[in-house]
């Protein structure tokens, strides 16, 4: 079976600095990689390469066997970031609709409504984004990222700004996407949150995997203690 995500020797340099230094891994349908690491470890850079936003200095990233940044590969990716990636003058519905239209969905309005309902923000759908709280904006941003039902969901600090209800909606959504066969990569500083979702866990340090293992059976408190020691 073709891997959902395949990173082969990914390297990214900025001048003399190697932000990502030889990442290799594959994710099958239903896999979820929780990516931990201190600030500046290269997590976001790795994610941006896997979204097709940054070209690797060396190595290759593929989605469903298609090399990035080809449009066929990008079509299968949903990107959630701590930045909203929204237009504040447009309403929540217009933002999500714009994303749906760019993905060529047949039933745009239906998909938009479902995504907004899933993130429990449908009742504020026709309010300009600028009038929404930070947490609600993040929910709209997630709805924008999942409206096309991506096979690969890349989430960079997706819980930023979410309240308890929003966090629960996001966790439910990520579990549902996984169950539907999507592969997820979740970058987070919250170990327990990440491990609760993950099938694989990795710690990045100085652009490399300092640890990479299957998450099932990991004892969370012990992992947290080892993580703190590793990144200290």
């Amino acid at each position: 079976m073709t891997a959902r995500v395949e990173a082969a020797g990914l390297v990214r340099t900025f001048g003399a600095r190697r932000a990502v230094d030889g990442l290799s891994f594959t994710l099958a349908p239903g896999d979820c990689l929780a990516l931990f690491g201190p600030n500046g470890a290269g997590k976001s850079t790795a994610l941006r390469m896997l979204a097709g936003l940054l070209s690797p200095s060396a190595g290759q990233a593929r989605i469903e066997g298609v090399s990035l940044p080809r449009p066929e590969a990008r079509a299968r990716v949903g990107l959630i970031s701590h930045r909203g990636m929204l237009y504040e003058a447009l309403t929540a519905r217009e933002n999500v609709r714009f994303s749906a239209a760019l993905h060529g969905l047949r039933d745009v309005e239906g998909a938009v409504q479902r995504a907004l309902e899933q993130l429990r923000v449908a009742d504020r759908a026709d309010v300009p984004v600028r009038s929404l709280s930070r947490g609600l904006q993040q929910r709209v941003s997630i709805a924008r990222a999942i409206v096309h039902g991506p096979d690969v969901l890349l989430a960079d600090e997706p819980y930023t700004g979410l309240d308890e209800q929003g966090g629960a909606a996001l966790t439910a959504l990520l579990r549902e996407r996984r169950a539907a066969g999507a592969a997820l990569i979740v970058v987070t500083h919250h170990l327990h949150e990440g491990l609760a979702l993950a099938t694989h866990a990795a710690v990045m340090r100085a652009g490399r995997f300092a640890r990479y293992e299957r998450a099932e059976g990991l004892e969370r408190d012990r992992y947290a203690a080892e993580y703190r020691e590793l990144v200290a």
Binding site: G52, S55, R74, A75, Y87, A89, L90, L102, G104, P128
Partner: protein
């Protein structure tokens, strides 16, 4: 898998989104309009009608006004993408990068034409220009053609400079030299129309304008995707 929209469909989606934002905020359009009217008024009060005829001065006034007011909208077109990282979402979407250029250029064209539609009658009024229906139609044609070239160049440089800290400064510095081959024939054609000379006399300028339009539009669309590379 969903079928990603083609070049024109995605360009239209992007243009509609940009126009919706501009209609809602009106910030760039109003700024450009105020700048245009201010420039027209200032030129008017600095003008000595006994020294220079209105039909000789007006082409310069028009094209200085259009050039600088257009820059305001061009800068704004990528500013909305930078504000909350929306450009990332646009780049992840499975649309050809050329469609981003085309969509932005379409919205910018509407913006520049909107400003011109207000500024031309204002200049005609202030300078009491002898504009009959034929002259008005000819001028409108010249303005549309020139706007195509200005918008092509401006959109490409706006995209290129959007990520830089000095975008507002860099855009005019980079774009203005490339505006010259567009503005020069446009001003010459405007002067010919306003002076009531036979349009045939100015056909050479029309050819130059058309040639630069085609070259700039084609080259900018080809080059634009590379300006988005990190």
């Amino acid at each position: 898998m969903n079928a990603a929209p083609g070049l024109l469909a995605s360009a239209w989606t992007i243009a509609r989104k940009d126009l919706a934002i501009e209609f809602r905020t009106r910030s760039a359009f109003l700024s450009a309009l105020v700048l245009s009217l201010l420039a027209i008024v200032i030129f008017y009060f600095a003008w000595d009608p006994t020294a220079i005829r209105a039909t000789d001065l007006a082409p310069g006034v028009l094209w200085v006004t259009f050039t600088f007011s257009g820059l305001l909208g061009l800068h704004r077109s990528f500013g909305v993408e930078q504000h909350d990282g929306a450009m990332d979402a646009l780049l992840v979407a499975p649309v050809p990068r050329e469609s981003i250029f085309l969509g932005k250029a379409l919205a910018n064209l509407a913006f520049v034409l909107g400003v011109q539609a207000v500024a031309l009658p204002a200049v005609a009024l202030f300078y009491n220009l002898p504009l009959d229906g034929r002259a008005f139609a000819l001028l409108a044609g010249v303005m549309v053609l020139a706007a195509l070239g200005l918008v092509s160049i401006g959109t490409m440089f706006a995209g290129m400079t959007a990520n830089t800290r000095l975008a507002e400064l860099l855009l005019p510095v980079l774009a203005l030299p490339f505006f010259v081959p567009i503005v020069m024939p446009a001003a010459k054609l405007t002067a010919a129309v306003l002076a009531g000379r036979p349009f045939g006399e100015a056909v050479a300028w029309l050819r130059i304008l058309l040639a630069f339009d085609l070259v700039f539009a084609y080259v900018c669309m080809l080059v634009f995707p590379f300006t988005l590379d990190d």
